[in-house]
Symmetry: C2
Subunit: 221 residues, 2 copies
DNA sequence: TAGTGGTCTAGACCACGAC
DNA sequence: TCGTGGTCTAGACCACTAT
């Protein structure tokens, strides 16, 4: 039996593609962000297809950022690329995240500082150990790295270099960001120098592609 | 039977993750770009796993840009993130591509100009039709849009805004860039103003994440 | 304990590409 | 014709979540 909301077995289009279209239409018409979709086995019954088909359709939709699958709970509708944030260039990570309204927490691991912008970005910062004695012991939980460097060491960022590319989330980064591995991510590699020209900071930041945007103003030379 | 290059059935790691590691090691050690990997059914026999496992591993590797699956032919090794290029900010597309040593060809489609940086980037440019009478008829095959705008209309870019995010390649863009759909891509949305403040150009550029990098120098305000 | 998504098996038929 | 990857079925067991 085939109807307007079912799978057409005579179509040349694969079942999972048909199902994707059905689900997208359903989500856009009837679901809000955070809504729980029917379970995979229920979709099997509803659309009379095997779980392989349902999982391929939902897997594609997850890769496209429309839904999020959570083991043991279900499949949720996510925001649809609407919640972009802003990162001003020439700002430190903490400042730019705060400016965008995000809470920033950080953990200090030896001389490695790892910031976690609430399931948004992942960051690895490397600082020359010689320049910053005692930095590893400092409480950075709710302070900017730049604030600490300025107040404790008198070093302020003056210029820097940023390299931006797109990459697929590694499984480790995906875990930190609570996003599917392989999902597109913005990767920003950064070097910062003080006014004296001392190269004092290097970091690599990973941003979820579906929730982040990097914006800058440019002028002619 | 388990050996150094096989699947460990006692491991907590899923078979497809183990197989991914095995294949990545094999590719990095023994394969060159363009090489044909063993078929899926041969991998099933070699590693004593079902085709589901092999397909999940190869599907992940394709999403990560390491291999390319071709129906009826097989699975090929692709280039591995080595060929990054540079795009200077505050430059037009043509200039930045040329600076990076790329050949730029373009097609004029009505008032739409589409540049194709030899399987590297895809670009859509929108210009206000009122400001540029006759632009659609001009030969832009090997000229910069900015060159034409300056020589024919006396308009020069002075300032602009860039928004950069990461996205998955749509199947259409993937076709143009000869890359797998879903692969991470850098998306740059750009607005350019003349010295008089006239907003005269808007474009969206899609760059393959595995071959492109966007670099900029920043200074403290 | 019951339900969910994650992983896996052992098959099957298909369209496509090379021969 | 034969081998390839693409799609699909009908099961199974698992870890995780909630109650």
């Amino acid at each position: 039996m085939t109807n307007a909301t079912g799978i057409d077995v005579r179509s040349f289009e694969p079942y999972y593609e048909q199902l994707k279209r059905i689900l997208i239409r359903d989500i856009e018409a009837n679901r809000a962000e955070g809504d729980l979709l029917p379970s995979e086995s229920e979709m099997c019954r509803t659309y009379a297809v095997s779980r392989t088909v349902v999982r391929q359709a939902l897997g594609d939709l997850e890769n496209e950022g429309l839904v999020l699958k959570v083991k043991g709970k279900g499949t949720y509708v996510t925001g649809r690329k609407l919640n972009t944030s802003f990162v001003q260039h020439s700002l430190g990570f903490y400042e730019s995240m705060q400016k965008a309204g995000h809470v920033v927490r950080s953990k200090t691991l030896a001389l490695r500082t790892e910031h976690c912008g609430v399931s948004m970005a992942k960051l690895r910062t490397v600082l020359p150990a010689r320049l910053f004695p005692g930095l590893a012991d400092m409480d950075m939980t709710d302070k900017s790295l730049y604030q600490v460097l300025a107040s404790e060491y008198g070093i302020r960022p003056a210029s820097g270099h940023r390299a931006i590319d797109a990459t697929a989330l590694s499984s480790e980064d995906a875990h930190h960001l609570r996003a599917p591995a392989g999902q597109p991510a913005l990767r920003i590699e950064s070097i910062t120098r003080s006014a004296e020209g001392v190269l004092f900071e290097y970091y690599v930041a990973i941003y979820r592609g579906d929730t982040f945007k990097f914006e800058l103003e440019v002028t002619s030379p």
